[in-house]
């Protein structure tokens, strides 16, 4: 049996929940497929307070924002959330297949919004597959969702916001943080986060990388070394850091498998952190009726993912004929919010990436 859906949202994280709420607010019936037990995406483990403006819940903790978005969605009669539902494929005839409850569901949707988010990047070094080497997000899940102390002593790789924030959260969970190493010559994350971990006595060492990890059956220590200005390891600078856990916070990459499979035009855009689907001002991909919002179309922050989700949700409802005037207004307001969010230095990089994406899209149209 094929199930019908007006708007199908793939992924119940910040972008997906906001997309669902936006489309539903204009009258569309929305089905959200979420692969986890609970919707909320990675907000469920983010105990830190958000930046941005009040519209994106600045000052509130990620966990509370997630809870609020989920409660809102669950209370809306136009939204149905299917949890433990992993979307497997988007086919040419518009059928979306889903693994749910050990069954293979088929869904035919009028509009599909892909909000699959991102996955953590890996790093190449000898011994990188030892148990005890995790993505920083994994450690965050273990300690903040499961409440399990993930380690005794951790070395963190990456001084971007995730590396800094997770280091602080590890200390809150009673874990010793041996240090944070960062290959770049500068700390990438916000100074306020860096100061907080430094005040707690954690050294942040820039210009360092992992040379190798060692251990018998599980991680026992890591050899780090300095990098020269050409990012090459400097012999003789090795140091042995005994630790039972190594956390990799070396960036995220968009989870775009479904976009590739659906035949969306993709492009590698460095500023957006990988291959991303090209989208227009409505966040619609080159496959009509398929939208992409949040990290899947470029790594940014949860705050912008939420606004992108809303924009895509309004656009999808509008294209189904729901309240076109109101939709247009709401879309414009969301676009303005995004511009505001992207007005800082990090935003400049995102804007450069989006510009590349727009010119590729224009070139494609010109070639038709």
């Amino acid at each position: 049996m094929i199930r019908e859906a007006e708007v199908l949202v793939i992924g119940g994280g910040p972008a997906g929940l906001c997309a669902a709420a936006a489309a539903a607010s204009l009258g569309a019936k929305v089905l959200v497929c979420e692969r986890d037990y609970v919707p909320g995406g990675q907000l469920v483990k983010q105990t830190h307070k958000f930046f941005g403006s009040e519209k994106q819940y600045a000052g509130d903790r990620g966990i509370h924002i997630g809870k609020m978005l989920v409660e809102e969605a669950l209370a809306n009669p136009n939204i149905e959330i299917l949890t433990e539902a992993t979307v497997l494929g988007i086919y040419e005839d518009g059928i979306v297949t889903v693994l749910h409850d050990n069954k293979h569901l088929k869904i035919r949707s009028k509009k599909t919004i892909v909000t699959t988010g991102a996955s953590e990047k890996f790093l190449a070094f000898p011994g990188n597959d030892l148990p005890g080497i995790y993505g920083a997000g994994a450690v965050q899940t273990l300690m903040n969702v499961a409440g399990v102390k993930p380690a005794e002593r951790v070395l963190m790789v990456g001084a971007g916001n995730i590396g800094l924030i997770v280091s602080y959260q590890l200390m809150q969970a009673g874990v010793e943080v041996a240090g944070i190493i960062e290959a770049a010559p500068r700390i990438g994350g916000y100074l306020v986060h860096a100061s907080k971990v430094r005040r707690a006595g954690v050294p942040i060492r820039t210009g360092y990388t992992v040379k190798e990890a060692y251990g018998n059956g599980k991680l026992e220590g890591v050899i780090i070394c300095r990098l020269d200005e050409k990012w090459q390891q400097i012999p003789g600078t090795e140091e042995d850091i005994p630790c039972d856990t190594l956390c990799l916070a070396v960036g995220l990459t968009p989870l775009t498998e479904l976009c590739w499979q659906a035949g969306c035009q993709m492009a590698y855009i460095r500023e957006l952190s990988g291959h991303v689907p090209l989208v227009n001002e409505n966040l619609e991909t080159t496959v009509p009726g398929i939208y992409a919002a949040g990290d899947v179309s470029g790594i940014e922050e949860a705050s912008s993912a939420m606004v992108e989700g809303r924009l895509a949700g309004y656009a999808a409802a509008e294209s189904l004929g729901y309240e076109p005037e109101k939709a247009k207004e709401l879309k414009e307001a969301a676009a303005a919010e995004l511009s505001e969010l992207r007005s800082g230095p990090t935003g400049a990089r995102i804007l450069a990436g989006l510009e590349k994406s727009a010119s590729l899209l224009a070139a494609r149209k010109g070639g038709e």
């Binding site: 996955s119 890996f122 597959d129 080497i133 899940t141 409440g147």
Partner: protein, 103 residues
């Protein structure tokens, strides 16, 4: 080890039960994942790679990377990082790539 006191969070772990890891009895809670329960018991080596037999643990903890595949109640390739504990369940290290049962 489980975190009992946290400055921000409280944990609702559900009901305490026991299950089996390679035949050994382990404590777990019904609202936690198999991977979390094993970690709490100090077990981080969840299996071995199919070809070179190198030890394997958890990497992503959100059901994405397939590093934590184990056999659960006879079913292979279960992502234990997103599968909850059930009383009496048998969790075992998987041999090779696993065989899908036809029942």
């Amino acid at each position: 080890m489980r975190i009992e006191q946290h400055p921000i969070l409280e944990f609702d772990r559900g009901e305490k039960v026991t299950f089996f890891f390679n035949g050994q009895e382990i404590d777990g809670y019904t609202e936690e994942t198999i991977a979390a329960a094993l970690h709490a018991a100090g077990i981080r080596e969840l299996g071995h790679s199919p070809e070179l037999h190198r030890p394997r643990g958890l990497f992503c903890a959100i059901g994405n990377c397939s590093s934590c595949f184990m056999t659960v109640d006879g079913q292979p390739n279960v992502r234990v990082c997103v599968t909850k504990v059930k009383a009496g369940m048998h969790v075992e290290e998987q041999e090779g790539k696993g065989v899908i049962r036809n029942d």
